[in-house]
Amino acid sequence: MLKRLALIFGPVIAALALVLVVLFIGPLDKHKHNLPLEEQAAVSLSPTVFRQSYLKNMALSDEDHRFVPFFGSSEWNRMDAFHPAVLARAYHRNYQPFLLGQKGAEALTQYFGMQQIMKNMHHKQAVFFVSPQWFTKADQQSAAFQFYFSKDQALAFLQNQTGTYADRYAAKRLLATYPNVPYADLIQKVADGNKLSATDLNYIRFNTTVHRNEDAFFSRINVGDNLKKRVIPKVKELPQPYNAERLDAKAVQLGQAQTRNNRFGILDNFFTNRIGSSFPSLRNAQAHFNYTQSAEYSDFQLDLTQLAKTHTNVIFVIPPVNSKWAKYTGLNENMYQASVRKIKYQLTSQGFKNIVDLSRRGNEPYFMEDTIHLGWRGWLAFDQGVAPFLEHKQPAPMYHLNNHFISHDWNNFDPINNDVNTFK
């Protein structure tokens, strides 16, 4: 009888035990650094790399190779020869960008992503590409946010939070943007200002262990081939050694060759495939766009809070829009500049002094690759602002946060008719 029972349940129990052991221990090489994998992940722009934590932490904790997190959104996918990843590689910079950002990612996504890499951001540097297009009036990000959100982000947030005003606001925003979020009950506790119990914390730690091990097993499976296909081939196109004038000439030459079918200086295949037949209907279609009042300003403040918490020395880049295209679509330049003023005030008034403001350069030839994304000379301008900051030692920043930037007052503050400096 016992033998029969053992024959029935033995294999199941053995299998279960094996799974548990594997999940608790994880892959044996999980603490090892693997440079090819790190380099691959840094430019992969795959949703897995962006969502999960394993590869991000592997690269950012590598003491022999310096990876710098580049927070942003869809611009990282504009990989021409002057993309920061290509330049860093071609000129053997002492850093490599780790690209964190995808189409539709905004401040809230970045906030929860930062939770995962918190311990690798302490007293380090970062680049933050902040697009005024994030700051739309209506909250449009729910689907993209949910797509880029992962259990690991929820767990990291739950572990890092200490019940501050920003933590509670982040929990509320998370529940509002993703009502069925994993661990909603615990996040609700944080939103309500309740402390997590010891049981909760044990539960979170247990899940984190299992989850990170799964991550370590599976994240490396499909990291993509951007490095091989889109970065390394372009390294060879660049002049050696580094020479700003020759680079600029090269950028003009390539830009010219690739923008022949339209009068906006937009990449030919973008104009054909992405704009295509909807071109006539886009005339004046953006006249009503408004980036000056948005809940995104409070979300952005969450990012700043997190960066201050980790004493990260961060440089912000604010892009322009393609001026010719903006004229055609009716996008209001005054409104755009007002939103830039508002963003910059939020930064400078709290001690975030490193800002590369490109927002007025959208009329320079071959600066924009398409309607709103940098390309060619735009990337070079980006590099001229960012590279010195990363290459040379910088004084430690002094941040002094103002929680009033997390408020309806600030979200609804109108920078067109009011002086931003009056906001306290």
Binding site: M1, R4, L5, I8, F9, V12
Partner: protein, 421 residues
């Protein structure tokens, strides 16, 4: 108070049967006392009922709490009809009362199935997950009472049968007499060990089917194929052929996997619920396919629809030729099955096609017999019947089934009539 109950129900997380690993962990943990007791020859009736009830309630909590009220109302309704007919049938036996009882028993289901068709795709408030399968059980009882084979019914057993938790959402469809016999008797130890052994095997195979294979076909393959097919558009294109096979395999592995879970959990409770699938894609002809695909449903239709139609047609001498009789019965039978799936053209077309296939299948068998007889009289051997002809039969049956599944999936409806590019 009602408000409080609703709030409470909404606050409980919703757990779909066999939906996630956690569900299995909790369910199996709660089953341990039942399994141990049964191993020692006892059935924990009260405990088993409470556990079942708990897992039924969490199927309908959260956002779908109103389904729980629909379920309770439905069970009350069915109980009244079944027991009223039972009382009536002890003394009398007339067709109109029988027909009336069957009609009343399927009335809620008719409402639920017709509502989306006439009300813009909105679901009826009477509906709840599993209503079809509960209806099959009660209607079969009424019919068996009419036949005189089901004489005694008990309220407690009736409720346990109707609300048998492992199979409540999607079958397999059991029969009352078979269920009652299992429920009132505890399997002896040797037999119970065999059941446990099978249960473990079915759980593991079910995991493989539902969470590996169905995921592969239904998510990894099907989703991009559908997007490609819709992007190309038109009447038919290559990705649509891909959708056809991916959907067909997804449907099978998903449903067969689910059925294995339901059977396994039933076995652990000592109830030998019938199996639902038996390697359907190996069928050499369409009739055999329906003996292997969703077996408990097709046997239900055979016993309670097809046989009844044949009986009525023969008794009233509607058709002289018995082949015509059976053909008409096949088509009606499958059409009704199509209507049961839902009031959309593609379900009905699916039913019709399968009905026609049954007719063609029968006609081919008759033709083959005739030809073989002629050949024998002419001194020749019979038409070839070997592994090659059987393989041909399997290939033809499989392709036919896949084509009808593509129809059944509703994807053609989307491609042809609702493709917004």
């Amino acid at each position: 108070m009602m408000q409080g109950l609703i709030q409470w129900l909404q606050s409980i997380p919703n757990w779909q049967p066999y939906g996630e690993p956690k569900y299995f962990a909790w369910l199996l943990a709660f089953l341990i006392p039942i399994v141990v007791a049964m191993f020692f020859g006892r059935r924990l009736k009260i405990y088993q009922s409470l556990v079942s009830l708990g897992f039924i309630v969490v199927m309908y909590t959260g956002a779908s709490y109103h389904q729980l009220f629909a379920l309770v109302a439905y069970v009350v309704w069915q109980t009244i009809i079944v027991f009223a007919y039972h009382a009536y049938r002890k003394e009398h036996d007339t067709f109109p009362v029988f027909a009336g009882a069957v009609f009343l028993a399927i009335l809620p289901l008719i409402f639920v199935k017709v509502t989306p068709a006439i009300n813009d795709g909105n679901n009826s408030l009477l509906g709840f997950l599993g209503i079809s399968y509960l209806t099959f059980r009660s209607v079969a009882m009424i019919m068996e009472m009419r036949d005189g084979v089901l004489k005694e019914i008990k309220l407690s057993t009736f409720l346990r049968f109707m609300l048998f938790m492992p199979t409540i959402s999607s079958g397999p469809i059991d029969r009352y007499r078979r269920f009652e016999e299992d429920y009132d008797n505890v399997p002896d130890r040797e037999e119970y060990l065999n059941l446990i052994e099978k249960a473990v095997w079915y759980l593991m195979l079910g995991f493989f089917y539902k969470y590996v294979l169905a995921y592969f076909f239904g998510t990894i393959l099907l989703v991009p194929l559908k997007a490609q097919a819709l992007a190309i558009g038109g009447f038919l294109n290559w990705p649509t052929i891909g959708v056809m096979y991916a959907y067909g395999f997804d449907l099978f592995f998903d449903f067969a996997g689910y059925s294995m879970f339901a059977v396994a959990i039933s076995y652990l409770m000592g109830i030998k619920i019938p199996m639902n699938f038996n390697q359907p894609f190996k069928s050499p002809n369409i009739k055999d396919f329906w003996n292997r695909w969703h077996i408990s449903l097709s046997f239900w239709f055979r016993d309670f629809v097809f046989m009844r139609i044949v009986f009525v047609l023969v008794k009233n001498k509607i058709f002289k030729n018995r082949n015509v009789t059976s053909s008409v019965a096949y088509i009606l039978n499958m059409l009704i099955m199509g209507f049961w799936h839902g009031e959309y053209w593609y379900y009905i077309a699916y039913g019709l096609l399968h009905g026609l296939a049954m007719v063609v299948n029968d006609a081919w068998i008759r033709k083959k017999k005739k030809v073989n007889k002629e050949r024998r009289l002419a001194g020749k051997g019979p038409l070839p019947s070997n592994k090659w002809t059987k393989a041909l039969g399997i290939v033809v049956t499989f392709q036919f089934v896949m084509i009808t599944f593509l129809l059944f999936s509703g994807f053609l409806d989307q491609l042809w009539f609702h493709n917004i590019k």
